[in-house]
Symmetry: D2
Subunit: 284 residues, 4 copies
């Protein structure tokens, strides 16, 4: 059953919840899920309201205009989404295939819902057969054979040609320029192989080994200009010990990276993530 | 800041959310938290709505009568609570003190909010000094010196005399009769030292050791007539290995029991738990 | 660097550790890892000793005869393995591909070490392309088109033809007969989609949902005649809530199943698992 | 049953395990636990060997002299401990009582084994009654009423008078001078309320909240001159969300701090922790 999803943020004030609920009710929708949160630091109200469409007296493209009166009354920032939105996910990957393989397998088994993976882009040629087998296009864009700027130019063209909505950095070890980041605001999800903000920067498993930590982590976050500083969507950790070599940490870490990245992508695709300043609100 | 909490359940139907939100808004309340859930197995709708009282145009005792019209319209089951309700918690404990000590320490440091612990009842005399030190009364009610029925009679009298609202079985190893259970419906929280429904019945750490499990658990649930079968409020597990003896399992288990029981009690005291058939809805 | 692995069990008695260590030292081996455990319930001693081969004054096939004197002195049960043993893993799978996909991906990336996956057997035709893409043979053995006994006959022949050492039941939903189990003693690893011994039997996610648990689990164990009762190798759990439908539990469960099965297989392949009565000793 | 514990480190070389095992066997000891680890970065070998004393042909004070020959042969650093060592634990605490209360409760229930807590020192007067109730001395040493140097002078005198072996900083918010640290090398255990090395320095829960992390942690480590940089003994984390205020993070964090500090102290008291450069080897 397909539902509409309203994502709302505005200054907190009485009457918002009633205003939104009344709008849905008046148009014969039925609210099936509603979550709200107020950031008391700056008094910002956030809400995610999901409602049934089948009895609604508005066509999909009439909802936003009809809601405009409510949105204006509360000076809301609002987004309208649908649970059957078939987001187009472009995956960027370097050498290591574990996150790529995992996402392709989840796509195959329907875990990504209606989302599609039209294209995988890599600076390595290695994954072509696996990607073709999964049914996506493969674009090998080496770095170094051309200037980085040219490679990014090509990358943006490939993403645009495949009408990509969401970019997943599935262990893509190249830094993206501000221009690419600006093309997909809050639309690029990175998996960082540490518990941010511990071990910022390169080779976090080496850093973790050198520090002798007893847990290692992985962090999925939106990519922003400040490397490793973007809004965190999900994190997890696993227990390690002095016995674990850097290679062991990397192997255990891969199990974390797969799951954390997939959870974050799923939350994003289900329109459950709002960003605010440098943080996320992730509704259940 | 004190808030009102509405806990609602009824058959799912359009307009409930709007009806409740409109009620609060009309009376100049401001909703600070609202969570809902629909059990699709039988179409039951649940909601927890928390709203500010300071601008409300109703006195506390006027809210329920004023809400009656909404409740009737949707044939709701409703409860009204307040975040400053000073619940009176009675603790029952046998020999092992770890959950008792933990709850007393949390009370001392204010973690239980406005709740009070007027009395601790035990079939052992051991905890009297610690309980008195914490500022509660101690009632030593041995089992066996009298019949069980008489002991329960005394127990109910002590609980009544201290006007106890919530009973916590903090490793109380006696089975309660239906009569005691009926006196506190959904008001008796037990900590079971296993991951229910594994290892039902007695000596679960012995059972876990014999089975060679790699994780042990603890479960906080409402006590019901079906032993170990009441609605689960919270659970957690810890990793163990072949090296752990039954005593090691018990020791690791105590750390779980303390935390799981405290989390469940806290959820109960914050009016975040609804029960439905044999399950709980625990709002965040 | 390739090492020898001695797996030992015998009645506990003074001198075992010295006897084994002295044997390795006399033959110019260097112990790189040694772990021991005594089951005090019946006084059984277990040890795993891993030592370097490069300076050893014995050829690989001379080690066991040379060790015979030590083994006899302590009436040991002993197994000799090598870290470069290229175990041949046969995977059995039904409809759901997530564990199969995961193991094939781990094989591809070298995470299974020297192990090979020569063949995948299924009672469904669905996985043929994925398995061929990964480089293994695919044997489609439907159940029902022939009697179960005949299908098992074929299954055993396929396993034998591919010289399979270890059988992995990667969500294979058919019960194996005692004859198959007896062919691979402690050599068949199953992933059960619950935290055993909770929710024994079929449809554990439905059972978990009906019981309203707050955690779901997965258990990897050796398959034995007592269904779901074999020695547990590894387990893990994930947090769930009242919001999770049976399908949500299944989805979250798949992430557990993948990781727990892979960890158990890895422990088995590294000769770190000993079984004793109905339990395992899993050395780090 | 009381056992001896040998803690050994030396350059890795063949024959160490055999040399130690042979020593124990020759003197009629029985090894009940032995774990080893080699740090391949610098080729250092570590071992913990626990053996029974009851048949040993050496008195306790003869073991170390008798072992000297083995220790010299391998140029070992060695420590000899006994499982019935009654370590004297001094606790330092500031305002927050949760770790103090927890350790006193564990002491009361025997979880700290033969260890004693002769004295608790605080720069606040608040905990005197609780500490006296538990049976320890209380020393109120305010900071600021005198110079810090004088306060530390008194502190060292109190610790010495109570013959303290191990100092636990149970949320002691004062920085210790190098002189105090040097008095108890690898003998001062601190609980830091973050997942080190994330959120170094002050107010880590505020930092965690500002960064929007989805997990918070606690770290127990040996105190060294480099604040928050000492060898990590144990860590753990708990899941949080955008809903958690700084106060919620602190409350959830307290549950972590209690358990992580107690686990680290227990490992230390059981002679299972060796330090090497800035890391620990924690044997099971």
């Amino acid at each position: 059953m397909n539902h509409a999803v309203l994502l709302i943020s505005c200054a907190d004030q009485p009457g918002i919840v009633a205003g939104v609920a009344d709008f849905v009710f008046r148009h014969r929708g039925n609210i099936v899920a509603a979550e709200q949160y107020t950031d008391h630091a700056d008094g910002t109200f956030f809400q995610r309201v999901e409602f049934e469409l089948d009895q609604l007296d508005l066509a999909r493209d009439q909802i936003e205009p009809a809601f405009a009166e409510v949105a204006e009354r509360f000076a809301m920032h609002m987004q309208l989404r649908f649970t059957d939105d078939a987001a187009r996910v472009g995956i960027l990957v370097s050498k290591q295939p574990h996150c790529l393989d995992d996402l392709l397998a989840r796509w195959r088994t329907g875990e990504l819902g209606p989302a599609q993976i039209p294209v995988v882009i890599s600076n390595h040629p290695d994954h072509e057969a696996a990607v073709h087998h999964a049914g996506a296009a493969y674009s090998f864009l080496p770095v170094g054979s051309t200037t980085r700027a040219e490679q990014e130019e090509q990358l943006l063209r490939v993403l645009a040609r495949h009408r990509v909505d969401v970019v997943v950095l599935a262990r893509y070890m190249q830094v993206l320029s501000p221009r690419v980041l600006a093309t997909y605001p809050n639309g690029i999800i990175n998996i960082h192989h540490s518990f941010l903000p511990a071990f910022l920067g390169g080779r976090p498993y080496h850093q973790a080994h050198a520090r002798g930590v007893k847990l290692i982590g992985a962090t999925a976050h939106y990519a922003t200009e400040e490397l490793d500083e973007g809004p965190i969507i999900d994190q997890d950790v696993a227990r390690v010990s002095h016995r674990d070599s850097v290679e062991d940490l990397a192997r255990r870490g891969r199990d974390l990276e797969r799951v954390v990245l997939a959870r974050a992508l799923r939350a994003h695709l289900q329109h459950r993530v709002l960003t605010h300043r440098n943080k996320t609100v992730v509704f259940e």
